[in-house]
């Protein structure tokens, strides 16, 4: 077992988290309501891409992931909805849907894509197609 270290965001000191304004997208939706750009991390590994997206307030059933013509898109159909009896007193953010798309440079093994949602975070594993994988060639002495 190798000793695996982990990277932290900005060195060893924990930064103070500053909130950023959610970026609303100009996007036509059938349901109306605002659509925001989801924050994502994209990690490339030898055999796959790992795409992680923050989708707070979204149920796993309300996420649509599409891969069409090399473009990966993440779209939510419904976000957090306050209960009918709640009157807003003040609001600092707007709840809504999320959208994001990327063009993928490598061929993806579409049949083996897996996605899971936990605590408002989408984790998408996109395995590279066999011929696009980085191979490690063992050098023997």
């Amino acid at each position: 077992m190798t000793n695996q270290s982990t990277t932290t965001h900005e060195g060893s000191a924990t930064p103070e988290l500053r909130s950023r304004e959610k970026q609303a997208l100009e996007r036509e939706t059938t349901r109306g309501g605002p659509v925001f750009r989801a924050d994502v991390d994209i990690v490339e590994r030898a055999d796959e891409y790992l795409v992680t997206a923050d989708l707070p307030g979204v149920e796993s059933n309300d996420v649509q992931v599409r891969l069409e013509g090399g473009v990966l898109s993440i779209e939510t159909t419904r976000g957090f909805v306050p209960e009918p009896g709640w009157t807003p007193v003040y609001s600092e953010y707007v709840s809504g849907g999320f959208y994001r798309e990327f063009r993928l440079s490598d061929q993806i093994d579409v049949g083996r894509i897996s996605a899971k949602m936990h605590d408002g975070v989408l984790e998408l594993h996109l395995p590279k197609a066999e011929q696009h994988r980085t191979r490690r060639i063992e050098v023997t002495s």
């Binding site: 695996q4 982990t6 988290l17 500053r18 991390d41 707070p56 209960e83 609001s91 953010y93 605590d119």
Partner: protein, 155 residues
């Protein structure tokens, strides 16, 4: 005697038109709510997490988007009418030399936030839940601040 029946569709503003009016009403409510608390809104700029505060029959409901955490990782405290939220968001990817980060937008770091509520809270009855990355805190008003209904009995 003629009987009048109300159906869902009898309303002149039923369906889409009604929804549009309802949307407008909510928008106006929100605008007023925002304007009324502009001081608070401005002072909170940049402080994480942004919160929304609603009022319901029992008191207040506070929501905040904190994806990727667990309720146990969020520290909540109520002192009088002040609610404080603290925690830390950590994200790490293994650094094994074969992983490259193409994009890193999801923020990490400590957060600490205090929210002044417009009325005293019954701290014993505060309930917090966490679902799909949204923190939801129910803050019932203390009994002294709740409107009391006085039954008027007929003689």
């Amino acid at each position: 005697m003629a009987q009048l029946t109300w159906t869902r569709f009898a309303h002149p503003w039923s369906g889409e038109t009604w929804d549009a009016f309802e949307g407008l009403r909510r928008g106006v409510d929100e605008l007023f709510a925002r304007a009324g608390h502009e001081g608070l809104f401005r002072s909170a700029h940049g402080v994480h997490p942004p919160v929304n505060l609603y009022e319901n029959a029992d008191g207040f409901v506070l929501t905040a988007e904190l994806p990727g955490l667990k309720l146990e990782e969020i520290e909540l405290a109520v002192h009088g009418n002040r609610l404080s939220i603290r925690g830390e968001r950590k994200i790490s990817y293994p650094d094994d030399g074969r992983t490259s980060l193409h994009r890193r937008e999801r923020q990490v770091g400590r957060f600490r936030r205090a929210v002044e509520l417009p009325a005293a809270i019954d701290s014993e009855k505060v309930e917090a839940s966490y679902r799909n990355g949204v923190l939801l805190v129910k803050l019932p008003k203390s009994a002294a601040h709740r409107p009391r209904r006085i039954e008027v009995q007929a003689q």
